[in-house]
Amino acid sequence: MKMISRFGLGLLLSSSLVTAHADDVKIGMITTLSGGGSHLGVDVRDGFMLALEQSGRDDVEVLIQDDANRPDLARSLANEFMQRDEVDILTGIIWSNLAMAVVPTVTRQGTFYLSPNAGPSDLAGRMCHENYFNVAYQNDNLHGAMGAYMREEGYERPIIMAPNYPAGTDALAGFKHLYEGEVVGELYTQMGQTDYAAEIAQIRDSDADSLFFFLPGGMGISFMKQWESSGVDMPIFGAAFSFDEILIKAVGSAAIGARNTSLWAYDLENEANDRFVEGFQAAYDRMPTLYAAQGYDTANLILSALETAHPDDKDAFREALRAADFDSVRGEFRFGPNQHPIQDIYVREVVEGDDGEPTNRLIGVAIEDIQDVYYEQCQM
């Protein structure tokens, strides 16, 4: 009996000796891998893992869990990661409502959270936190940039449209903020709406000269297909969320000619981006989307900070993250005082690619060094 217990104790000691690499880094990723809209989460994950693979580091462990786009599940996964797995860094959430459910608790408990996609205004403003970094964009950025671009291009009577939920109303507010002019109409659709005949008839009936819309995911596919057969002849504009490489292939020819704002384009010319796009196509045999680029940048930011400090030394690691000393695939990248990006937003146009399938082509810069408007509310 005594023998056995001593033997057991010995095993316990030796096993803890084997696994306890004090300087290993554990990253927990909670992202949407199932259900509608899961291609966003899949791309964030694939971009993130590609960067880790390219770095060749074997002391970084990534634990991945699917939140199925459910706030309650995301929250319990975050608790599991922090308490059971004792991760140093959390990342991965796609949707703003899930981010709002998870991020404040995570950062308050001293764990770092790096957002590869969602950028709700509250987390940029009054609820900002020193352990929260957004490596993607603040939600208003792309819409505001499109407002600035359309003003610049001389469109005078835009009609604007979004679903009636917080990110939708924020999108239209962001657009109007930088468009700085009168819009002829605002249309609010239902969340998850699939039939846009009523809205298209209203757009036809208005005297607008252009259309700006924010309809993420399947909503955008439905709208554009119905728009094409409606016979309305009006240039259309939007944010990249309705025009990623996967969505426009599902839309087909109806997407051709649409212009959209994005923080990244696959034909953006810089060394980091070449390495990323080539590596991604070789590894996964498909074109990366902006979500993959955001995942890739998030991982590279973490890796750059790990060069100078370990997350256990929170202050030093935080400083290293703030420095953003990595080669971003989108060109220049730096953090504002609320730890959200200050970056250029580009304009892309959907064109017919060499294989006859629609694809995005970079046509210019919509706005340089855009910063969100909430940083002044951020007390850190």
């Binding site: 899961s38 291609h39 899949v42 609010y188 039939d195 297909k225 409606s230």
Partner: protein
Amino acid sequence: MSVTLLIEQLLNGVQLGTMLFLMASGLTLVFGVMGLINLAHGSFYMVGAYATAAVTASTGSFLIGLGAGMAAAAMVGALVELLVIRRLYHRPHLDQVLATFALILIFSEGTRWIFGSSPMRLSPPSWLTGFVTLPGDTRYPIYRLMLIGVGIVISIALYFLISKTRLGMRIRAGESDREMIGALGVNISKLYTVVFALGAGLAGLAGALVGALQSVQVGMGEPVLILAFVVIVIGGIGSIKGALLGALLVGVVDTLGRVYLPIFFRAFMPPSEATGVGAALAAMLIYILMAVILAFKPKGLFSAHD
């Protein structure tokens, strides 16, 4: 606020109504004849759309794809009836809801597993794209007109099937007294399979037709399923006539509400608030309609079981 806008919106409402009818007719038949609540009806809608997209992509013909989509949905429907649904007829409604909800999850994840998580491409054929100019200078997409046409043809075909054929007679008999037609020697389990497959096929046809207009993706059937349930509750559960009337009513009220409520509120409110209030109220409108109808006719407009 022109007449052309009103005409166009009425057509849109009728078009939405005819597609809802394709969904609701199967749902109401299954409930009327077998007393089964089938939440997985939206999955047949999705199966039809995916099969059509896949076959259209490989053969290049939308019509072949449409036939394949309808056949695939009917076959999957028959299979599901034989394997799962058959065991549920004598169970309470809660068990049926649980089991068919599980089917939704299985179908959604199964589809994602086979076809991937990104939406599939399905577009109307080139001879159905474009628009026609109707009297009064209303432009209307040809494809949507075609949908209304298909809806009318299917409604007439269903009418003949149910009122003039032997199968229809058995379905009507099944609606009024399930035990009795079994006792009279009708092969009831075969009848059930046929009715279920018919409903699934119609849902698949709706999914395929609408999928070409919208997007073919996992979970596309559930929002339509909710509307279809509203339709059959308004129309009276089990009644095909009720389903047709309910579908048209829901289609027209929903479409006109979405357009004219914001305009109505703009008359006495600032524009941005009016749009918000109008859109929010428009989203509730069909449920308000349902509540009002149920207040006066608790069993719906045409109840099959009086």
